[in-house]
């Protein structure tokens, strides 16, 4: 029998590393002398071949790698190109197509970390170093096999607004079991407060009713209202959600006209908590409407200043005839609407909130929404004068520009202001009986200062990220600078979150209208379906592994382990009789490496990210003469 220790000693580093360096069509090659890097790489230990291509990610580029693997020229691959987050999978699948194991590959990030931050010789030198480090690691890479785990054909949708309803319905139609969790007693979310929606004027309540009917009638969907996720663990395909259902009565929540109440009354007398076992989670947690600060355009100081949602609600309840709008018994002879309230805020111009924060983004929906409301008023009450105070009119979508045209035809008066010169709203003091006056320097008429007496001011308040701080900390979700949940990449992975098996739907991600939210929801659903429909999925093989020969059974790793049950001590039969040895349970191992640091004999290491590989990388980084030969 061969001594296994000897076998290990004999196992050498790969001497057939292929290095593939990308020009990125100038993105890299404008700053890094790519051919010089290639020449240097050819001389690194273990490198068999180094090649360049203008786009390594393109088909011809990938073909270089595939050919070399197929011809046996290389058995380890290093690609030097953009950030690994963009193309790691691209190259892994190319390697798979060549019939090789995808884990024999390492990546050198010479765009985001070199050519985009450095220029000239320094850039070339650093690129060489990063390629050198990657070859150091690649030499020690071993083929790995993904861990196959069963995946529940079950998805959980959090949030019962438009996006949540849409996602739940299409997932159930796709054949998955679905649990829909909604924290209020109602379905429909924020949209339920809208009356008719821009641009087509559809009744929002009808849209919600249709979506909710599809959900409530679907046998594969369980709807849990008054419920919140209070616990979360597990891993992709096998998550456990602790869901708490409270009994607070419906009156504790603001019910809007369009809301659907799936369950009348309270049918239990104690709060319940249940465990939901699910394969993936779709976050459709929605937005909250911006609440202006006291004094912002006269808000709170004057009761005649309303937010857009307040105005929409009051308008939908109007029951007056005549050609002038009446709200709460008050004739609205003239009104002003002000755009971009709580949106498009600019540092140095707008006032930060108590946390030093500004909403720098555009809320996307308010222009169409307020023009739709203005048209609704003008077409019913033509004698109500409307002044529209805007920065840019953003009626971008299908049918939206028509709203703008129609508003102009309806004689809405448009006045334009600059961000740094916002209009002011104050009590009217000209002796007339208008409650307010709005003052603006109108950019459309030679920046003339105009004072408009009005009965009402409507603030086109935008969207803010919903408060999901509990989910963010429970699920470790990335949040963007705009406080909305952050997708992995807007184009490559637009509904995916960095936590595998968690997807984004609707306005939890960014402001969007109903149509866009439904598209986002269905897009999140299709990724969920791709993930779960097979009933199993393959996980990264980056787990700890114990070298039984080196393990002395100290148990230090078990103590250090952060995942319950991922490491255990077993009695192993060896030539010295029964000995204590550590054993890894791969499906539970997080791959964090906490065990690696504490092993006194170096017996445990992380597959694919081993300590030995890092040591080799450091060696290559400090080896200067490699570059200077």
């Amino acid at each position: 029998m061969t001594d296994p220790k000897k076998m290990k000693k004999n196992k050498e580093k790969s001497e057939k590393i292929g290095v593939y360096i990308c020009y990125c069509g100038g993105n890299i090659s404008d700053h890094v002398d790519v051919e010089k890097v290639r020449e240097a790489a050819e001389k690194f230990p273990g490198v068999a071949v180094a090649r360049t291509n203008s786009f390594m990610c393109s088909d011809p580029g990938q073909e270089l790698i595939i050919e070399d693997l197929k011809n046996g020229v290389v058995d380890r691959v290093v690609v030097a190109s953009c950030a690994p987050s963009l193309h790691e999978n691209t190259f892994r699948s190319a390697i798979t197509r060549a019939g090789a194991n995808p884990y024999i590959y390492d990546h050198a990030n010479i765009r985001e970390q070199v050519s985009w931050v450095l220029h000239g010789d320094k850039a070339t030198y650093k690129a060489e170093k990063l390629v050198a480090a990657a070859t150091g690691k690649a030499g020690l890479l071993e083929p790995l096999d993904p861990i196959r785990v069963n995946a529940r054909k079950h998805a959980t949708v959090i949030g019962g607004g438009i996006a949540g309803l849409k996602a739940a319905r299409v997932l159930a139609d796709r054949g998955l079991e679905v649990v829909l969790i909604e924290k209020t007693p109602f379905l429909g979310g924020n949209a339920a407060g809208l009356d008719t929606v821009a641009p087509l004027g559809e009744q929002c309540s009808a849209l919600i009713a249709e979506l909710a009917k599809g959900v409530l009638e679907h046998t594969a969907i369980t709807v849990l209202t008054r419920s919140e996720v209070v616990g979360f663990n597990g891993y992709v395909g096998n998550y456990n959600l602790q869901v708490k259902t409270t009994l607070s009565s419906s009156s504790a929540f603001d019910k809007a006209a369009g809301h659907v109440v799936p369950f009348e009354g309270d049918n239990a007398d104690t709060p319940t908590e249940q465990n939901v076992k699910t394969g993936a989670v779709v976050l459709a947690t929605g937005f909250r409407s911006y609440q202006p600060k006291t004094g912002e355009y006269g808000f709170d100081d004057h009761r005649e200043v309303l937010t857009l949602p307040e105005f929409i609600k009051q308008l939908s309840e109007v029951n007056c005839s005549g050609d002038i709008l009446e709200l709460n018994g008050r004739k609205i002879r003239a009104m002003a609407v002000i755009h971009c309230v709580g949106s498009r805020q600019i540092p140095g111009i707008h006032e930060e909130d108590e946390n030093g924060y500004l909403n720098e983004y555009c809320s996307r929906t308010c222009c169409s929404s307020i023009l739709h409301a203005a048209n609704t008023v003008k077409e019913q009450f033509p004698k109500t004068n409307i002044y529209d105070l805007y920065r840019d009119i953003r009626t971008y979508g299908r049918g939206q520009e028509e709203l703008y045209d129609r508003a102009a035809r309806n004689r809405v008066v448009f006045l334009r202001f600059e961000a740094g010169n916002s209009p002011t709203v104050s009590a009217n003091d000209d002796g007339s009986d208008y409650a307010l006056k709005v003052t603006i320097e109108d950019g459309l008429t030679f920046s003339e200062e105009i004072e408009v007496p009005v009965d009402l001011v409507v603030l086109a308040t935008g969207m803010e990220a919903g408060d999901v701080s509990d989910l963010v900390s429970m699920m470790k979700l990335p949040v963007g600078t705009d406080k909305f949940l952050q997708e992995v990449h807007p184009k490559l992975a637009p509904v995916e979150m960095s936590v595998s098996g968690i997807f984004l739907a609707g306005t939890a991600q960014a402001p969007m209208n109903i149509s866009e939210a439904c598209n986002g929801a269905a897009a999140a659903a299709v990724k969920t379906a791709s993930l779960l429909s097979k009933g199993y999925l393959e996980l990264d093989p980056y787990v700890a592994a114990v070298d039984q020969d080196l393990c002395r059974g100290t148990g230090a790793c078990v103590d250090a382990c952060l995942a319950d049950g991922a490491l255990e001590m077993i009695d192993a039969e060896t030539e010295n009789g029964t000995e204590k040895k550590a054993r890894v349970v791969p499906a539970l191992c997080l791959g964090c490496g906490a065990c690696v640091a504490v092993c006194p004999t170096g017996a445990i290491d992380l597959k694919g990210w081993s300590l030995k590989q890092y040591e080799a990388m450091v060696d290559m980084i400090v080896a200067d003469e490699l570059i200077d030969i």
Partner: protein
């Protein structure tokens, strides 16, 4: 454990340090994409920085850091996810370990400013630049580490 004697090692024997190299251990879920985000913003920072993508810096034992200094690395920044760490408890375990590394560095007369632990998120462009520039100032001031002649052997075992 030092790297094994082999061809590569022999090849490396003649190592001469040319620049004050800073090693950055950046977590793959926060700090590494954070560094990419700095790149996407085309903000430049010192060239002597080498970013290694790590799953969690908790995997590195005390001796890894000391070995790096021995090999000629002038400064190390651990860019973790901080409280956002996807592995519960990992940050705490690592922070405790770094405290021990500081003690060992003092014994070896290595300026402890050469090792820094910080949290960098995916959009932390300014903190990233600040950390890197700060460490660069330190290593430019200190130069490459010179270890004591009669250095005690580096303990491999974690204190119980």
């Amino acid at each position: 454990m030092l790297i094994t004697e082999n061809l590569t090692r022999n090849f490396l024997m003649a190592t001469t340090v040319q620049e004050n190299k800073i090693l950055i251990l950046a977590t793959e879920s926060c700090a590494y994409p954070g560094a990419d985000s700095v790149g996407q913003a085309h903000s430049s920072y010192p060239a002597n920085t080498y970013i290694l993508r790590v799953r969690a810096p908790v995997m590195f034992p005390e001796r890894f850091y000391l070995d790096c200094f021995k090999k000629g690395i002038s400064g190390i920044i651990i860019m973790s996810c901080g409280e956002e760490c996807p592995y519960e408890g990992a940050y705490h375990a690592m922070a405790k370990r770094i405290d021990r590394v500081y003690q060992m560095m003092k014994k070896l007369d290595i300026d402890i400013r050469r090792l820094r632990i910080t949290a960098i998120c995916t959009v932390c462009n300014r903190p990233f630049l600040k950390e890197v520039n700060m460490m660069n100032d330190i290593v430019q001031e200190l130069g490459p580490p010179v270890l004591k002649e009669s250095q005690p052997p580096v303990t491999e075992q974690e204190p119980a």
